[in-house]
Symmetry: none
DNA sequence: TATGAATGAGAGTTCATTCAT
DNA sequence: AATGAATGAACTCTCATTCAT
């Protein structure tokens, strides 16, 4: 078994090696302009090898999302388990978690938001798509639980928690993409943190009874 | 003079003919997978003709945004001029305006949000980019004015109006993209209106003093 | 008849107008990169009009050669008629004539040399080709006559005069093209006159008995 | 080590395979009308493969020149090292060398002369251009040395040797192009050798003291 | 498992030429 | 005669993917 283990570990390491390279290249050039050749070179592998680990370019791209979704899940899990926190605090903590996710890897996060609602999504292998969906759903469910709890306690307004989670997610992604867009035009502008703070302050006030 | 008039009208009609075709194709296949050939065929024109009206594929794509931004501007202009409306009402009206913009042309709106925060933006001709920027900025300024007014009157919390406008825009685009994304996975889901309603209700409560 | 005359004159003027424009554009951009659109614009005409006066782009290009060949013929004619000139002087005068032709329109001359021995030649209409051939042959014949005369008089070595004319023409075109080539690499270099002087001095010594 | 060797050899063979095909196609159709598709087909390769070996069409075209320039260099080198030859003999030998170069590959030589003094030259990659320039310059320098030697010995007239080399080169290229041109019109004519002989006889007489 | 040369379909774009007005 | 919008074939070049080694 030891050998198989080691092989599996090595295989996983290769995958990561490719993912790291892909992240770099995709971030620098965007999806369309990145070539498999570029990524292979960055990973110090041959183009052919990439196809041993990823079905195609789309899947490689989408795989980046998995890592960040996993990180998001961990952060939300922690938040869920946190005790002695009122809803206000939890919402503030949610904001921090999301901001951490952004900082964990801004470019990949943006890639992921691009991936959502785009053609690429349809071309993914069912397996990968299922993985992504599972993680997203779990994240949203955990966010919903925060609101659910507050509603149960009577501190938050009585709105469908799932919808509230959608609002949070939409707000977060909207802010990330919009601030990114402003940065594209004017490199100096970087108001993400501030916009996020204001947005969540309003959100917090808005959902509080 | 009549002849020049007619020619101008015909030229404009051709442009529209191409825009309609482009909208259809881009919506169906996404930017990358749509070919100029596809669009030409849809418009019942030859590929070369497209280039008489649009400098290249990027510009054709971006041109779609212009119309919807113009429509948005008009709606916001109306809102600005509306009298006898308290801030609450104005925010509700703002939501309606944005929803109308969505309904005016959902696919183009989504395209526009995709265009934002993508490499394509940088490849546009300065003229077109300037036009788009001008319209976006004007829209955001008008939204900011709604908040400004409320703050002046003391009915809204004292936050930077420009930032509030950014939050609204991010929220709107985030919801549109996220709900679209959910639809891609499951065609039956269409909660945009509901999510938008909840989001703006929270927003409204959140910014009210 | 007056009207027809006038029409013919006007037609000829239009032709010239186009030729002037074509010369400018071809000189600036070279044959391949010049478009009929460019030339039409320069001539302040529409692309379609060009085709009323020239069968196609190739013919328009080749037409430029005609003018310079005509000029060459005139200069050689003068030379032929010149009396009281020994062969040495005639050869020197021939050099001057050729240099004048170069100065008359360097870019068109170069174009003409490019035209020679290239694909384009085969695509010309028989008429135009015949015109060009007629003028070239006449020029060469006149050069040959200069040598013939000298040989008859015994001042020049007894070589086939036609071959000598070929040598002169090859030498002239070779120098023009080669010096042009050097200029392409280094704009400052312009030794055409000097090279031509040396070449003809040697030629003159070489053919003198 | 053997494997690397073999791969290198194979790579070089492929290059040659492409060059041979390119030569054939360019000769038949001229530069503009030859398509990469044509060449690929002739080489029994796919169009994409051509681009693995040559950056673009221009470079492929220019690459043809390199081989012939190398051959020219070798021939001139031999000539330079030849002892016990007076200047007359050396000039005759120079003519023979040039004629051999012509015979080595007439079509490529003509291509090279076309390349000279054409826009294409400017589009070459600096590396390739540098290679071509280096070889041309070296060839011309070696020709100049022949004259230099004769001048030093007092057997040749005292003219700038560099200019004399230019004259030789211009004369040679002029003759090749002009005789080619005549052949285009009338396939039966082939006076290149004879014209070259006469030209060099005159040259020789002309430069001899 | 890894390679990387080769593939070849297909893209965006250009432009000589035509023809209805 | 002149126009100029429209054509559409043809071009160069790219690059995701394959497969013999």
């Amino acid at each position: 078994m030891g050998i198989q283990e080691r092989k599996k570990r090595e295989k996983e390491r290769r995958r990561q090696q490719i993912i790291v390279a892909a992240k770099k290249i995709f971030s620098e050039k965007g999806f369309t302009k990145s070539t498999m050749e570029d990524i292979a070179q960055e990973a110090e592998l041959s183009p052919g090898t990439l196809y041993l680990y990823f079905k195609n370019k789309d899947e490689l791209y989408a795989s980046l999302s998995l890592r960040i979704l996993q990180y998001l899940n961990i952060r939300l899990e922690d938040l869920k388990n946190a005790e002695n926190m009122d809803s206000q605090k939890k919402i503030a903590a949610l904001k921090d978690a999301l901001y951490d996710v952004y900082q964990f890897d801004p470019l990949v996060l943006i890639s992921m938001f691009h991936l959502q609602s785009s053609e690429t999504l349809k071309n993914l292998s069912p397996d990968l798509l299922a993985d992504i969906m599972k993680l997203s759903r779990r994240s949203l469910r955990m966010m919903a639980q925060i609101f659910e709890e507050g509603i149960r306690r009577g501190t938050l307004i009585n709105k469908n928690p799932t919808a509230l989670a959608d609002v949070v997610w939409a707000l977060f992604s909207g802010i990330v993409l919009w601030e990114e867009s402003k940065k594209l035009i004017d490199k100096n502008k970087d108001y993400l943190k501030q916009t996020l703070d204001i947005a969540f302050e309003i959100l917090s006030r808005g959902v509080t009874n």
